[in-house]
């Protein structure tokens, strides 16, 4: 209790002084030892003050703080070095997936499944990095579709020779040890041991790399004759993102795979001009400004369907009724609070209150306009219990409701 009280007291004092005194030094991170905070504050403690947490405690704390990432890095490096070798023959691009549940093993052609279905992509030329636990069933389905995949935490390691892995390990170890002692390089991309993957596979780098996720917002292609031009390597990176603010995090994620994303970037492929402006705005130096190309949104599906007229598409689907104007609603169902807490996620901007109001307003629109037909295309299945299902949506989809019975 004394320790917590001291920590809180000094933290509040520091926060207070931080706002008004520019000469206050920044302590080392949120878990800084109390003596470090006192020193940062340049606090004249009276000689009679007896702190529960001594300077020795602080030293141990600081040592442990830095040791933890080193231990983690060592564990990751061991896994990377010792994993069985696989053949990289025929791999032309790397494709970064999101999680096992979104692998293209199902009917809705998630991730790059829609490109395979259209014959635009040969799965055997892809190396698919997949995060999370992949079930035996999912693994079998991936094999059935001839999709070559690798666990994300291994990076490109299984496709390197053991000598290359050792070289990468030494490089990663050097960076991690340097981070331990200097604290300047301390960061997840460096000290987590993913540096072992930062070397990448030269054979895979010999062709454009593609790294999408399930939702895409920003795509990018790096130069063929940039930093790696001397070695004749080409880099191409593709980032799919759902929120503009998450792009930065995705770039960090890419860095684990050896992608020097922003340096030397020459082409930026985006969904729309607004996203390009968002990305380019802080880059005032001409050399840091890639050429934006607007390609349009790319969802998992066949965009050629949009070449049909609405009446024609409805007729093919079996929706008749020429006098009905058709409104299609697309939602984003938020996760339940229990789900968020379980996986450590913060609240979504698409709150339960927002989705409740969204569907409530659509129901009001149906009541107001009897000649309007509503098609609901929910983004996620309603049956998992993982997502918050608003009452208005339950009412609309209830098989006994007047809305459903009217068709």
């Amino acid at each position: 209790m004394c320790k917590e009280y001291e920590q809180t007291y000094f933290f509040m004092l520091l926060a207070d002084r931080w706002a008004t005194h520019h000469d206050v030094e920044r302590p080392t991170g949120g878990g800084a030892p109390v003596m470090g905070w006192a020193a940062a504050l340049r606090l004249p403690l009276p000689p009679s003050t007896r702190l529960h947490q001594s300077a020795f405690h602080g030293l141990i704390d600081r040592f442990w703080q830095r040791l933890q990432p080193l231990i983690y890095a060592a564990r990751e490096a061991a896994v990377n070095v010792l994993s069985p070798r696989r053949s990289a023959d025929g791999i032309k691009r790397l494709w970064m997936g999101n999680q096992a549940s979104e692998a293209p093993t199902r009917r809705h052609q998630a991730d790059f499944g829609f490109l395979i279905a259209r014959g635009l992509l040969d799965p055997k030329e892809n190396l698919y990095f997949l995060g999370g636990k992949v079930s035996a069933e999912a693994s079998a389905k991936l094999a059935e579709r001839t999709i070559r995949w690798s666990p994300e935490n291994l990076g490109a390691s299984p496709y390197l020779s053991y000598g290359e892995r050792l070289a990468a390990f030494l490089k990663g170890a050097w960076i991690s040890v340097a981070a331990f002692f200097t604290k300047r390089l301390h960061g997840p991309g460096v000290s987590s041991g993913r540096a072992i993957g930062a070397v990448g596979d030269p054979r895979a780098q010999a062709a454009p790399q593609v790294m999408p996720d399930d939702n895409q917002l920003l795509l990018a292609r790096a130069p063929r004759h940039g930093r790696h031009g001397r070695r004749g390597r080409a880099h191409g990176h593709l980032v799919y993102q759902r929120q503009q603010l998450q792009v930065r995090g995705e770039l960090q994620r890419l860095s684990r795979f050896g992608c020097r994303f922003e340096h030397g970037l020459v082409v930026l492929i985006v969904w729309n001009r607004a996203v390009a402006d968002l990305y380019m705005a802080p880059r005032q130096v001409e050399a840091a400004r890639p050429k934006p190309l607007v390609a349009g949104p790319l969802m998992c599906g066949d965009s050629r369907r949009l070449s049909k007229k609405p009446e024609e598409a409805r007729r093919e689907f079996g929706l008749e009724g020429p006098s009905m104007r058709t409104v299609v609603a697309f939602d984003v169902l938020p996760q339940t609070r229990a789900t968020r807490l379980r996986i450590g996620m913060g609240p979504s901007p698409y709150t339960p209150e927002a989705i409740e109001a969204f569907y409530g307003d659509l129901r009001a629109a149906l009541d107001r306009f009897p000649d309007m037909r509503l098609l609901l295309k929910s983004k996620r299945t309603l049956a998992t219990g993982v997502l918050y299902i608003p009452q208005a949506l339950r009412d609309l989809t209830d098989p006994t409701s007047a809305y459903v019975l009217q068709g």
Binding site: R221, V294, G296, C300, R325, F369, L382
Partner: protein, 103 residues
């Protein structure tokens, strides 16, 4: 009211639409606008009120009354809301475009 399977092709839903309504900044509407469908971003709790794009008001409703008024205009006068040009992509088949650009 028809509830499409959640794993249905989103382009199928878009193709059947005279008008789309979506939560702010979701992708299907971008594809819809690029292909001549009308669309409204509906943010009933005013989620999108701080956008830098002032023209966003063309395709944004922030209350039930605004949504109903916009639907009224579309239903009776054929005023399908469209997005600012910054939101509209030039390519009708982005998958094909992507293959040519990157793959």
């Amino acid at each position: 009211m028809v509830f499409l399977p959640t794993d249905a092709d989103p382009y199928l839903a878009l193709a059947m639409a005279d008008l789309c309504v979506g939560m702010p900044f979701t992708s299907p509407l971008l594809a819809g606008w690029a292909n001549g469908r009308g669309g409204i971003y509906h943010a009933p709790l005013r989620l999108a009120r701080y956008s830098a794009l002032t023209e966003l008001a063309l395709c944004l409703t922030q209350s039930r009354e605004e949504l109903l008024a916009r639907l009224e205009g579309w239903s009776h006068r054929g005023e399908a809301p469209h997005a600012p040009s910054e939101f509209i992509a030039p390519h009708l088949d982005p998958a094909q475009e992507l293959i040519q650009l990157v793959l």
